[in-house]
Symmetry: C2
Subunit: 445 residues, 2 copies
């Protein structure tokens, strides 16, 4: 099966009209339509083997990512899976460092999101092939540390993590791996919810959703802040009262503030004891986050960021500068599993917990594999660690996430869990799917 | 004329087959086809007023930028020039922070290059309108400091430069402005040449081009390095011999190295006394550049970077961390004049010279305006300052740069100097232009 050749790559623009109900709204993204550039790799295998991948977007602009996926596809089609994974580091660099296309990046923005969609599909394909034999999901594509290391491009990060150091971390974590795997299968990985407190929700919605979540066993809650200080105080106060002093509260400003403004604003929310302030300022501002971290440390508030941190070099600097206390990896923003392996291993070296970003469309499905890998094969710790969860749009996936008692239950199906239902894809294709045609019709009336 | 409404935006993919002769080749871009996404804004003015803008690319991937320009065009078409420039800061943010499209950036990569192309056209349009009345090129669109400041989005940089500080710099530089302007008109702005030593050139080509350049009055030369150390030593030695000890040599690695590798490699080239090492490592690595700067300072070698530095927040950090000693602004990588104003003013505050990146297609035409502005209206200094020049592809422009005795002579025509000859555009449109059809034919033979 590894000999299967990739014969075709298709990519589609799939959008969900979430803005109609203010799901996903925050201080900077006031009307997101959760979307994906959805990639399918077809192969010449007899078993009709396919690979599914996606990258998450929030509406307009998805067509640009689709265009970029098409541009990169010529580097993928015609290769066998074996060719790719026998030099996955080389293949990663082929995509990320094409002598012409790297100019429009490099390794950032649209072209990096497109790289993620394609490589997510390649990892899915690989996992399915391994699964055909051993029925294992992505997190165990390979348990060979040397093989994993060979997927990582260490260019530009050797001053923070050498190949040998990375290997040592993986080898050391072999100890106790079996029991951690069993623990995960039994208990699952701790999650927190962002579904209760989007910025566009009313206090009434917020109260109701929070109460329901508590009843379902949730203990960790994230609140969107940053548009209006008095609103934030009211909302944080309300939620802290609802969840009590012992549950965990996090706040998220989605890049709304300048550096000094962030410090002032968050200081005024300190009385509600948030564990972290997420994305207080520009995602590119390593030194700004370092200043904020330093100012907020005495208040017991950490800084979390990463969902728009575009590559391993940025994460490297955030870690070097002590600019974050929680590393929020994302399954689509950087170069897929390859680059996230590098980031997870750097976080381990710097002893900073990884708490993934998820939500959107398919991000929970994807990132659960990465955080399970982190616990089982790298960090071996749950201390201060949890994975974001948002309960939207899972019904469009063939193997949706399973949450039990506020924990992610490890996926059982082979693959990277991001195959969508074909019917959902067709209905939501933009602009020709029936959902969008109906919205257009309504607009005309 | 300010009341003119923008009625249409067209964008075309224009590529020049420069890779055929290794023009522009460096350690990371081995086969660039210099290209542009070329924007024309049409208006409803009686005078058939148009605005011309572009962003530079190196071949494949230009179609993605074209797609992004189209996505952004809905935010531009229908607006009058007056609406835009009466709140240019707001218009800049409209483009850079659209609630949906910012996800595929923000302010980086493809979407930022597209923003630059559009805003370059808007600045051109504005300059032409001013020129109709006063016949002045872009550098003097407005000489009112407050008006200039109102074009800048200070979001995320107030910890390094406040609006008041920026204003103070401009007001202070009013002194002597008139005589500096006269000086520029007479002598021009000092330039250096990169045309002699692309990585793909033979030693013979290099010797010939260098000798010719010396004869033409050039005194400052840049050499591409980074692929092979022994080659670099031979080439630097050759050029240093050719130009003698008193002329200036700069070296450029185009991001080839890791941090420690950069320090070791450049140390071995120190005997040739380069003024700077340009792009020693990943353009995102502020802290890496700071380490390199610190290590090379005792050797008298500075660090230069910026052509792939994607926004003002990155430049802010490079300055805060003393990670560069030469600020290489680019007219297309960041958000046009608006963002370059912010960068030029930050460089002034941190007292670091601006030495623009140019070359490619149209970059010299554009950036000459910015560096003239820097000298006349901001820094008032030529110390350690010079602007890159490459002598390719100027023949495709309606008002090409004028170089006299290795100096840029200020443009006389109104506008931002990037209107291309329509015939050139049509011939080089990709893939349907006759130049590309001929290459395709040859490939088939």
């Amino acid at each position: 099966m590894l000999e299967s050749k990739i014969t075709q790559l298709t990519v589609r623009d799939v959008r969900f009209p979430t803005s109609l109900e203010q799901h996903g709204s925050d201080a900077m993204h006031t009307d997101p339509d959760y979307s994906v550039a959805y990639v399918v790799l077809e192969t010449d295998s007899d078993a009709a083997l396919k690979g599914y991948g996606l990258t998450f977007t929030v509406g307009r602009g998805t067509e640009i990512v689709v265009c970029a996926v098409k541009a990169l596809s010529t580097l993928v089609v015609g290769k066998t899976l074996k060719e790719i994974i026998s030099d996955f580091r080389g293949f990663y660099r082929l995509l990320s460092s094409d002598g012409q296309m790297r100019w429009v990046g490099p390794e950032k923005g649209v072209i990096q999101l497109a790289t993620a969609a394609i490589l997510n599909a390649v990892w899915d394909l690989w996992a399915r092939v391994e699964g055909k034999v051993r029925n294992k999901p992505l997190k165990t594509n390979t348990s060979d540390p040397a093989k994993l290391i060979s997927c990582i491009d260490f260019r530009y990060i050797t001053d923070a993590l050498t190949e040998q150091e990375a290997l040592d971390i993986l080898v050391k974590a072999k100890k106790g791996q079996k029991s951690r795997e069993e623990q995960m299968l039994k208990e699952g990985y701790p999650a927190y919810t962002t579904s209760c407190a989007w910025l566009g929700y009313t206090d009434q919605q917020l109260t109701q959703l929070c109460s329901e979540a508590l009843a379902q066993g949730w203990t960790k809650f994230k609140v969107k802040v940053g548009a209006d200080l008095q609103d934030d105080i009211r909302r944080c106060s309300l939620i802290r009262k609802l969840i009590g002093p012992n549950n965990t509260l996090m706040i998220d400003a989605n890049q709304r503030w300048d550096v000094n403004e962030a410090i002032t604003w968050v200081t005024k929310l300190a009385e509600f004891h948030p564990l972290w302030i997420e994305e207080p300022t520009c995602p590119d501002d390593v030194l700004g986050h370092a200043s904020i971290s330093k100012a907020l440390a005495p208040l017991g508030i950490g800084v979390a960021t990463g969902e728009q941190c575009h590559n391993r070099v940025m994460f490297k600097q955030f870690l070097q500068a002590s600019a974050l206390q929680f590393v929020q990896i994302d399954s689509c923003r950087v170069g897929s599993v390859n680059e996230n392996l590098a980031i997870i291993l750097m976080a381990a070296k710097f002893n900073v917990p990884v708490c993934p970003h998820a939500g959107g469309v398919g991000l929970c499905e994807l990132v659960q594999h990465l955080i399970l890998f982190d616990y089982v094969s790298v960090s071996a710790s749950l201390n201060n660690r949890m994975c974001e969860y948002v309960d939207h749009l899972h019904e469009h996936f063939k193997s949706p996430t399973i949450i039990r008692n506020a924990h992610y239950i490890p996926p059982k199906d082979s693959g990277y869990s991001c195959e969508m239902l074909e019917e959902s894809v067709q209905k939501h294709q933009y602009p020709q799917g029936e959902v969008w045609r109906a919205i257009e019709q309504q607009g005309k009336q």
